[in-house]
């Protein structure tokens, strides 16, 4: 009924459509599993249940809260309303300091305690991650 050429075109189209749908599905699926949400200490305080997924917490490193031993670094992230304790064993960026903005990525143990897997680097002393800015209500 239809020519060979038409059939081939049709097959080609179906193939493209199929692969497009497949890749979109894969991408969205993977996106759902791999995004990291950002939360402030206050938001964490008001959580109903603690999620096992990785999150980011941002705020200021509370003054006089940093303590270091040979295995780990402990400090407190504050948004001046609420606080959260953070434990981290790993390399901290150079700009990590008391009274400066910080973003910690890791897993929540409870509403007051984050086990961090990564402390994010910043590029200069004036730069504040936009998330932190918003969490602190700075404009």
């Amino acid at each position: 009924m239809y020519g060979k050429k038409v059939k081939l075109r049709f097959l080609f189209l179906v193939l493209i459509l199929f692969s497009v749908i497949l890749s979109v599905f894969l991408i969205l699926q993977s996106l759902k599993n791999n995004v990291v949400y950002f939360q402030s200490p206050s938001e964490i305080k008001s959580l109903v249940e603690i999620n096992k997924k990785k999150i980011r917490v941002g705020g200021m490193v509370k003054k006089k809260s940093v303590s270091i031993n040979s295995e780990e670094i402990n400090f407190v992230i504050t948004d001046f309303k609420n606080e959260i304790n953070v434990t981290f064993s790993g390399a901290v960026p150079n700009l990590f300091a008391e009274g400066k903005g910080v973003v910690a990525e890791g897993f929540l143990k409870d509403r007051n305690y984050l086990l961090a897997t990564k402390i994010l680097a910043k590029h200069d002393e004036n730069y504040m991650p936009p998330e932190v800015k918003e969490a602190l209500g700075v404009k």
Binding site: R56, V66, S70, E98, D124
Partner: protein, 627 residues
């Protein structure tokens, strides 16, 4: 002072040149002469000269530390070494845009003198489209980011350049990257001109190929330099973080690579015309989008200089104009050329190149979604998310297997219709690759099956391309080199990621840290004063499992202007592995935070990228088309 004036007025003359050029070109377009009006080339040269003069005067202001210039004041300092005073010229928003303009005008001038055998109307239209981009950027520079703003009273001292930019790799990374990034503008202009003139043909494909190659080579090397810099300067020990800023440079690279392959089909067979045009438009649009995202401050990074919403809006409007213009040209003028034989058998070089393009488009969409989705979500729901490396790794690595196999087999297939030859040797290669990778990986990885398949595929490509390189007559050496380089690239990355080891600990001076394979001894620290920074050098002795001692001296630099602390990793590079040690300091503590990494085949990642670019270079030199 004077340099400031010269620079500023040169830019304005450059803009006048643009307007005058457009007028002359339109007049010449209607003219019946066969040859282009020589004054057009002279004018284009004049414009280039003025932009160069403007650029040189900015460099001069930087060298002289002329703080009456706002850009110099914001980004320079008298104690900075001369080399970084010069490279600081393009290490900021205003200066880098001037460099952008320089590349735009340079490329159109080169295009005009290198395209004499092309039809006159096509050349003039290319010039016009390019001038449109140039005018846009000139206005952008003059209105929102003038590099020659005057400051009064004249400050005594400048604010200094961000220290992490004071680095040799970063001095040459922007110019090279720009040659690639902005170089794609000429492909954009030329393809629009060709569409308008209905000139998308074999001849056009062969002519535009070298421009695609030039952009591609520079973009490849530019991205690599940025990556090398990130490796030793950011102190994470990795070379690619899937950071949005890296992604926006990779996206045009992917479309450019796809275009590079399609151009071959167009040049040889006159097919895939629409697709080539779409890719040309997309490449430059993605470059512009990248600029917009980075410069508007939507993506925060070291590339975001002082934020100014006006800049973002200007680029956005300009971007939309360009997109609408190009789509308009494409839909109104583009006619599918039905004369040429567009049909090809499913097993042919054409279809294998199309397969390459499918993969490129898939990789592109993964990266695009990963980069744009967080921005999108932030805008519509104010929810903050970030998409990390696992997303990209999970979606890209499995598809590398078929991709590598097609890369090995595709080039063996002939044009129009083909059969697979030399089946036996290919099967032998498959078997060798699988056995080889199985034995290498047997004891080192947890995910044996997946990595065996992946590395086998890479080895397979390595074997097939090296056979082509060493044992066969060189029928297509550039392709073989580039694909060989890519297989080496994938192998180095995979072995690097599987075999790397890392130790992170906090340590005081005089302490020794023992780990399973050896120990790290922190001998002492030494302080030195340099012109614009004080450095703290740590002396470490690392004993590995064979009892061999290596000394590594990472450094912490405390820059005085602006006051920033940076870590300089110490890296001992050998052909087989890199040993990487970086230390950090936490204010007010005796503990130093150190990160020690052994990274196998690190050097080969850079070498293989160079081999890939060499493939492009060989292709550029080749006069005739391969069989």
């Amino acid at each position: 002072m004077l340099a400031n004036q010269i620079g500023y007025y040169s830019l304005i003359i450059g803009l006048l040149c643009s307007l005058y050029l457009c007028g002359v070109s339109i007049k010449d377009f209607k003219n019946k002469n066969i040859n282009i009006n020589p004054s057009i080339i002279t004018l284009s040269f004049l414009q280039l000269t003025f932009v160069i003069v403007s650029f040189l005067s900015l460099i001069f202001s930087f060298i002289e530390s002329d703080f009456s210039n706002e850009t110099v004041f914001n980004n320079s300092h008298t104690t900075k070494p001369l080399f970084y005073k010069i490279s600081g010229t393009w290490g900021n928003h205003e200066g880098s845009l001037l460099l952008w303009l320089l590349v735009l005008t340079l490329f159109i001038f080169l295009f005009l003198i290198k395209s004499r055998e092309q039809p006159k109307k096509y050349r003039i239209l290319t010039l016009l489209f390019q001038q449109l981009i140039i005018i846009g950027f000139l206005l952008f520079v003059l209105m929102t980011s003038n590099p020659f703003n005057y400051l009064f009273p004249i400050p005594v001292e400048g604010l200094g350049l961000n220290p992490i930019l004071q680095d040799p790799a970063l001095a040459i990374h922007p110019p090279l990257l720009y040659l690639g990034y902005v170089g794609s503008s000429i492909i954009f202009s030329a393809s629009l001109a060709a569409v308008a003139q209905n000139y998308i043909s074999k001849a056009w494909g062969q002519h535009i190929k070298k421009w695609v190659l030039i952009s591609w080579i520079f973009l490849t090397i530019g991205i690599m330099l940025g990556s090398i810099w990130a490796y030793y300067e950011l102190g994470w020990g990795g070379f690619w973080f899937w950071d949005p800023v890296e992604n926006v440079s990779l996206m045009p690279w992917l479309t450019l690579t796809a275009l590079l392959h399609c151009i071959l089909v167009l040049g040889k067979r006159g097919a895939l015309t629409s697709w080539v045009v779409i890719l040309s438009i997309t490449t430059f649009t993605l470059s512009m989008c990248g600029t917009f995202l980075v410069r508007s401050g939507i993506l925060n990074s070291v590339h975001t200089f002082a934020n100014d919403p006006a800049r973002g809006i200007f680029i956005l409007i300009f971007l939309f104009i360009l997109i609408f213009l190009s789509l308009g040209v494409f839909f109104f003028f583009h006619k599918e050329n039905n004369k040429s034989t567009n049909n090809f058998f499913w097993l042919s070089k054409e279809s294998s190149i199309l397969v390459n393009n499918w993969f490129m488009m898939y990789f592109l969409s993964v990266i695009l979604i990963g980069t744009v989705y967080p921005i999108f979500l932030d805008v519509i729901s104010a929810e903050k998310i970030s998409v990390g490396p696992p997303f990209y790794q999970k979606l890209i690595t499995p598809f590398l297997v078929p991709f590598l196999l097609f890369m090995a087999l595709g080039p063996k297939i002939k044009w129009i219709k083909s059969k697979i030859e030399n089946k036996s040797s290919l099967i032998i290669f498959v078997i060798i690759s699988v056995i080889l990778s199985f034995f290498i990986l047997k004891n080192v990885t947890t995910d044996l099956l997946f990595y065996t398949i992946l590395i086998s595929a890479a080895f397979f490509l390595l074997f097939t391309t090296s056979r082509e390189l060493f044992f066969k007559k060189f029928n297509n050496i550039s392709q073989a080199i580039a694909h060989f380089g890519f297989s080496l690239f994938i192998l180095s990355i995979l072995f690097n990621s599987i075999l790397s080891s890392e130790i992170i600990t906090n340590i005081k001076v005089g302490e020794t840290y023992n780990y399973t394979e050896g120990k790290i001894f922190f001998e002492k620290i030494e302080e030195k004063n340099k012109s614009n920074f004080n450095s703290i050098i740590g002396h470490f002795k690392i004993t590995n499992d064979e009892g061999k001692v290596i000394k590594l001296n990472p450094e912490i630099r405390v820059y005085n202007q602006p006051i920033i602390i940076t870590s300089e990793a110490d890296i001992k590079t050998t052909l087989l592995e890199d040993r990487f040690l970086v230390m950090n300091i936490v204010k007010g503590n005796k503990y130093f935070n150190i990160r020690y990494q052994v990274k196998p085949f690190m050097l080969w990642i850079w070498i293989s990228v160079l081999i890939i670019s060499l493939g492009g270079l060989m292709s550029l030199r080749k006069k005739k088309y391969e069989k």
